[in-house]
Symmetry: C2
Amino acid sequence: MTDPAAPEPGPGSAATPAPEPAPAPRRGRGRPAARDGGSGPGARDRILQAARAEFAARGYDKTSIRGIAKKAGVDPALVHHYFGTKEQVFETAIEKSFEPALDLPDLMTQDPGGAGELLARHFFTIWENPVTRAPLLAVVRSAVTNETAAALLRGFVLRRLLGRVAGELDVPDARFRVELAVSQLLGIVMLRYVVKIEPMASADIEDIVAAVAPVIQRHLTGP
Amino acid sequence: MTDPAAPEPGPGSAATPAPEPAPAPRRGRGRPAARDGGSGPGARDRILQAARAEFAARGYDKTSIRGIAKKAGVDPALVHHYFGTKEQVFETAIEKSFEPALDLPDLMTQDPGGAGELLARHFFTIWENPVTRAPLLAVVRSAVTNETAAALLRGFVLRRLLGRVAGELDVPDARFRVELAVSQLLGIVMLRYVVKIEPMASADIEDIVAAVAPVIQRHLTGP
């Protein structure tokens, strides 16, 4: 999930902590890390964890670089140094949040007729786990209320997730089909985890998978 | 769009403004309207319009009684007087926003096999019209970020909209089926109007209806 084109943050490793991590700036803002700003080994990960927690709890609008820095126990300058602007912190946090989702099995190679169930099961395995659900909920909440967050999600999801699935389909309107399938899944996310409406909110996940698998299948490979 | 059951704001008409409209309080908070608080005929509707506009533009969290009053050109006390708390203003605004959606044709009486298309078409007629879309988008945005707003939506949607459709189905898991159908539609709302992802955002609505009608049908009446 780390963008292979992005520069690595620094030479230090967790096993042999470097005395000064000297992280390479990710984008723009070449401000040096404060020596006393909490910039030890693991600072980058700590900042990213704090960022995800803050975005999850407050949404994009109410999250600040200062708040992230405070939670991570570092100087705000270090957050800028590693990640750039708030928008860029959010983008990196999003990519981390989507890592489990991108670890998607090949849908069409083994059993094309089972693609709908495979996708539904993969999707809900991630959403049923509170650890992987929380950051995704944060992304949904932020995208719904903030255009910057929506644009980042749009760019990322289009580029990586939908493109990946559509690439497996051998039809001209593959992207549209994938979006129809994702709509069904995302709508359930809204009712089950966000609005928490009954009986959807406490339905057995197997009943949900059984109900949506044929629908996903139809969207992906149907007439 | 005015609720026929709600008390009218006052006896005055636009032609002969009453010196004191003496509006009947809708819920609790029997605070009298300020004499100079903009409480003329139509004040109640003006407040409600202002409330919908404010909730749509800012979401539930950032909207205040004061801001609604300012937009409507009335004293904040009058907003409290007619509608009670911010939560109650929001609830009334939601009900107004959902009126077009509640004007739903009977799905199963004429042609049960066409229920899916009928529901999809009714749904997107409302969402494709910017006038009816804006307040609904506001409700979605508010519910996603605020638990109070989510609870109000949950209560209202459960009680009125889903119950109404489920009541037409002669199956034991009717409510769950309706929620599966609504999930498909709501997911498209998210991708098309909120995240605005392509090609969904600019797809021909007829293509979308054609793609989801059989899915809705399956959810409502399928195996």
